[in-house]
């Protein structure tokens, strides 16, 4: 039995966590311990409930039997009595409670549809130039946004879409303005919101039509529904949630001195990069100019030219020598020729004998009565052979 009850306890307590139930109060009792005990009932069912003393101060009203209330809490099982009950964290009289219930229902519905999914969120452009603002023209939100942006970065343009932010028809106006801003105005980012107020005042931002318009917006939306703590449905649907309109303005534009500093930093980095680059290149160049291999060709040219000079010198010498040799040979030949000059021989007493113009070198060539010319150095004598060789 204990086992079964334990199972029931586990399954009930994990299945019904932080639920909202609505019913009529009965058997309401405040125990001397300070805890509240009650039953909730509607036409078909009854549920026991307890609210521990620590939560009672947040109640804000005095419950009475017969009141219609909305209770927020989790189911717990009390094994010794085999009973279950709701452990109430909050209890609200129906008017307010209903609204809360509607809020939770809508939130769940839209969440289930994926309207709040993180991967749907658009990033906010870092340097918007035109910012659309959907809020009341006369409200504090607009004033706050303008003064923050004027201080941080006046280099942008603000485009106000004036709407009523509370009361009948406010949600429709807000939604229409969001849609309009997507059709007109070349807007980079949209701030949708209002300054703080009561839950009632902020209600337009919990309406489905506003959430859907925000989710459908192609322009990134920053929600700024002026309540630090509570989230509105619009906050969930927005691409970025700002706790207040001023905060939204700060999220939308970067401080211009920051941007200027960043630019200065970029310039500095750029300058050092370029300087480093040129210094490296110039030292590289220097190293190359003075390097051995770079100077090789010049040295080689010098060597060649020296070699050529050398060759020239040697060639000159060679030519000179050759000339000398030739000269000597010429002289020798001349002398030789001189020696052979027949005229010289004739002067020394030799003669040349010719027969019919041909030089006679042998006695056998001459016969009796042959005519022969004898040439002396000073003339020719014609003779006739008397007797030939025997």
């Amino acid at each position: 039995m204990t086992e079964v009850t334990r199972h029931i306890k586990t399954s009930l307590e994990t299945a019904f966590v932080r639920i909202w139930v609505q019913g009529e109060l009965s058997n309401f009792k405040q125990h001397t311990s300070g805890h509240l005990y009650f039953s909730l009932k509607d036409e078909g069912a009854q549920l026991s409930g307890v609210m521990w003393r620590s939560r009672v101060p947040s109640l804000g009203f005095v419950p009475e039997d017969g009141m219609k209330v909305v209770v927020h809490g989790s189911l717990t099982v009390y094994p010794p009595r085999g009973s279950y009950q709701i452990d109430a964290e909050q209890m609200q009289p129906l008017g307010v409670g209903e609204q809360q219930l509607a809020f939770e229902r809508l939130k769940k519905k839209l969440a289930d549809e994926g309207l709040f999914d993180v991967d749907r969120k658009k990033s906010i452009p870092p340097y918007p130039e035109r910012i659309g603002i959907v809020t009341s023209e006369t409200g504090a939100a607009f004033h706050d946004i303008v003064s923050v942006i004027r201080r941080r970065n006046p280099g942008v343009e603000l485009l106000l879409f004036p709407v009523r932010v509370q009361g009948e028809g406010a949600a429709e106006e807000i939604a229409a303005a969001i849609t309009d801003s997507n059709r007109f105005g070349n807007i980079d980012v949209l701030i949708v919101g209002r300054g703080g107020g009561s839950a009632e005042d902020l209600w337009a931002f919990n309406e489905e039509i506003v959430a859907r318009a925000i989710a459908a917006s192609k322009i990134p939306v920053i929600s700024a529904v002026g309540h630090e703590v509570d989230f509105s449905i619009a906050d969930f649907a927005a691409d970025l949630r700002a706790p207040t309109p001023s905060a939204a303005a700060e999220l939308a534009v970067r401080d211009r001195t920051e941007i200027l500093e960043e630019i200065a930093n970029l310039c500095y980095t750029m300058r050092s990069a370029v300087t480093a680059r040129w210094e490296a290149a110039s030292s590289n160049l220097n190293r190359m100019i003075t390097s051995y291999s770079f100077n090789r060709p010049r040295d080689a040219v010098r060597e060649y030219s020296q070699h050529i000079d050398e060759l020239e010198r040697r060639a000159g010498l060679a030519v000179l020598h050759q000339t000398k040799l030739l000269r000597q040979r010429q002289i020798a030949v001349m002398q030789h020729l001189e020696a052979l000059n027949p005229t010289g021989v004739l002067q020394r007493g030799y003669t040349i004998i010719r027969k019919n113009g041909k030089i006679i070198k042998s006695a056998k060539q001459l016969h009796r009565d042959d005519a022969a010319d004898i040439q002396f150095h000073d003339g020719i004598v014609v003779t006739r052979v008397e007797r030939e060789q025997q």
Binding site: P125, P126, Y127, E129, E137, T138, F142, H143, V146, S147, I149, R150, N153, P154, G155, V156, E157, L158, L159, L160, F161, P162, D180, S181, N182, R183, F184, G185, N186, I187, D188, K218, I219, R256, I259, L260, E262, I263, A264, L266, C267, T269, M270, R271, A273, V274, R277, W278, A281
Partner: protein, 80 residues
């Protein structure tokens, strides 16, 4: 409608370009001539951005719909 984003003259585009230039120069992946050109471009961009940021006056306009459902853009208005 948001096509002007990243248009040549947007601040965002200019700063992106400047970062790109700085990146290229830091990497040293460009030629010396190119690095000089990039540097000059970078300085020009940073000056333009600086001037634009400093010179600006906040402009506020109001967009309303007239009875025909046409948009009407007001002249600059003063914030309340």
């Amino acid at each position: 409608m948001t096509a002007k984003k990243n248009s040549k003259d947007s601040l965002e585009h200019s700063l992106e370009r400047l970062e790109e230039i700085v990146g290229a120069l830091e990497q040293g992946s460009v030629s010396l001539d190119e690095s000089m050109n990039l540097y000059e471009e970078g300085i020009r961009i940073s000056k333009e951005c600086g001037e634009r940021l400093k010179a600006a006056e906040l402009r506020i306009k109001k967009l309303t719909k007239n009875i025909d459902g046409q948009f009407e853009l007001s002249e600059d208005i003063e914030a309340s």
